[in-house]
Amino acid sequence: MLRCSGVQFVRDGFVLGPIDAVAKAGTITAVVGPNASGKTTLLEVVAGVRKPQQGTVQVDQLNMHTCSSDRRAAVMAMMPQRPPVECPLTVERLVSLGRLRLGRESVASEQAMGALGLESLRTRAVCSLSVGQAQRAHLARAVSQSGPRTVLVLDEPTAPLDHRWAEQTWDLLRGHAQAGGAVLVAIHDLAVAADRADDVWLLQGGKLLAAGSASTVCEPGLLQRAFGAAFEWADRKDGSRWLVPAGADQ
């Protein structure tokens, strides 16, 4: 379980927090909010890339900002927004770097590459791939680093992926959650967030506007307040509901 307690981070006049929220093991938690609401900054603070001026981030009682880098790498894996496509390493080497401090377990790397369809690209340099292929390679690196109980922190993982690989990625994340891990994922697409995530953290201007189950947080009134735009739930033929901009054709 990932717990943020009173997390506050200030940079260049932008104030993030204080954030008090929990991402439970066995669930997918989506971080949503308008542009410049602090989603990426929050994920970087959570993953130990940036140190908060106040508060703590803990994974199962382990403080992410005071523990060793090895211990942090063992309990949390992060993929940032727009990882470099100009990386000269081969796909195989990039994915294996996920195990750099965790011991050589080629099985994890092979499984990650297999799950994201990278076997045939394993000897290619990442900088020779398309943006979507490179994204899958970086995603596989993060997945290869994760174990059954680890926290996966992903910033817009499906943004450059086509429909097939976006679906595959969500299935992969659901599998990780079902195996006992936690997933924290920043995403712009509210409909997908509401559909795929169990819980949602809603940010606005660096503040946590709401945190809870997806159906609770993705409430049209709250979304109107955060985004300045109207949303509504639409019924689909299979009986499920889908979040859409108000007035859009269904």
């Binding site: 970087e44 993953a47 130990g48 470099p84 390493l89 770097l97 750099l100 401090r101 020779s128 398309s130």
Partner: protein
């Protein structure tokens, strides 16, 4: 390795050119006994300096995630060179006859690295484009400083300045220069091979490198210190040899790929072969008179290589044209 051994043997040999216009052939012979130690010293220095500059370039390219980074492009060579020239100038002004070149070279290199890091930073991390731009400006400024100092010293010292400033592999070195350079090169090379995973991790973005536990900040700082030290030591011995630190790592990358467990030793060998080969070529071109600085050859060869890489863009530069783009 075979290329390196061949280059070393040829470098030790004495070159003679048949001046008969009808044949114009080049012949090789062992130098006379009294000259042999000079050629052996020059060859050993060439091997160590070439290896050191290549390793410095490899570390800079990894730590700055920039395939165009090298000691000369980033102004580290010029900074070290300026440090030496300033020390010589101050020694001349104060009447001191003997000056140790190592320390002023190190200080100059440290100032250049520091300036590049500060001016090339964007959002807290070294930015590839800003870093190169800052390096070019710093190299130009230190170069201008060297020219200024040349104008302030008497003719005799100016000639020594000029020969050194263009890069020359010496046939006589100060006591201890070779063992110290060999020792530092060996330690940094071994550290690079043992820490190849952390060097590979530097090729990721900062957040990913932190995520996998690679401590990129510390690794990057260690790389910059090691590269600055190696550059300063080579500049103190040979003067600035342009573009060796850029060309050699890319030649090695073409042969063994980008992983540092192979790249680090391969780049050292490539740099050693490059400088030794260039010094051998110098012997042929200047007909053994010793008037042509080897740095002129490395710059003439490396300059176009740099422009070619700049034109190809960094992604192509990293992969050296080995793979087609999608």
């Amino acid at each position: 390795m075979l290329l390196l051994v061949a280059a070393a043997i040829v470098a030790i040999l004495r070159m003679t050119i048949d001046r008969n216009p009808s044949s114009g052939s080049i012949s090789l012979a062992w130098p006379q006994a009294e000259w042999r130690s000079f050629r052996v010293t020059a060859t050993v220095v060439g091997l160590l300096v070439g290896g050191g500059l290549a390793l410095a370039g490899t570390l800079l390219q990894a730590s700055l995630r920039n395939p165009l980074a090298s000691p000369s492009v980033l102004g580290v060579s010029s900074g070290a060179g300026f440090g030496v020239m300033l020390a010589l100038f101050l020694a001349y002004q104060t009447g001191v006859t003997e000056v140790a070149w190592g320390l002023p070279a190190m200080l100059g290199a440290a100032v250049a690295v520091g300036l590049v890091l500060v001016l090339g930073r964007k959002d807290g991390w070294p930015d590839p484009v800003s870093t190169i731009l800052a390096g070019v400006i710093i190299a130009t400024m230190f170069g201008a400083g060297m020219v200024l100092l040349q104008g302030l010293v008497p003719d005799g010292l100016r000639g020594r300045f000029l020969a050194w400033a263009l890069g020359t592999v010496p046939e006589v070195t100060s006591t201890g220069a070779i063992p110290v350079l060999a020792g530092v090169l060996g330690v940094v090379c071994l550290a690079g091979i043992l820490g190849h995973g952390r060097l590979d991790a530097l090729l990721l973005d900062h957040a990913s490198a932190v995520s996998i536990g690679a401590s990129p900040g510390g690794t990057r700082l260690a790389c910059l210190v090691a590269a600055g030290t190696l550059t300063a030591m080579t500049v103190a011995v040979c003067g600035p040899l342009g573009f060796v630190g850029l060309v050699a790592p890319h030649c090695a990358r073409l042969l063994v790929g980008p992983e540092h467990r192979f790249l680090v030793p391969a780049a050292v060998l490539a740099g050693a072969a490059l400088v030794t080969g260039a010094d051998t070529l110098r012997q042929v071109i200047d007909l053994g008179t010793g008037r042509l600085p080897v740095g002129v050859l490395t710059t003439l060869a490396g300059g176009p290589f740099f422009l070619w890489m700049l034109r190809r863009g960094s992604a192509s530069a990293w992969r050296g044209g080995m793979h087609a783009s999608v």
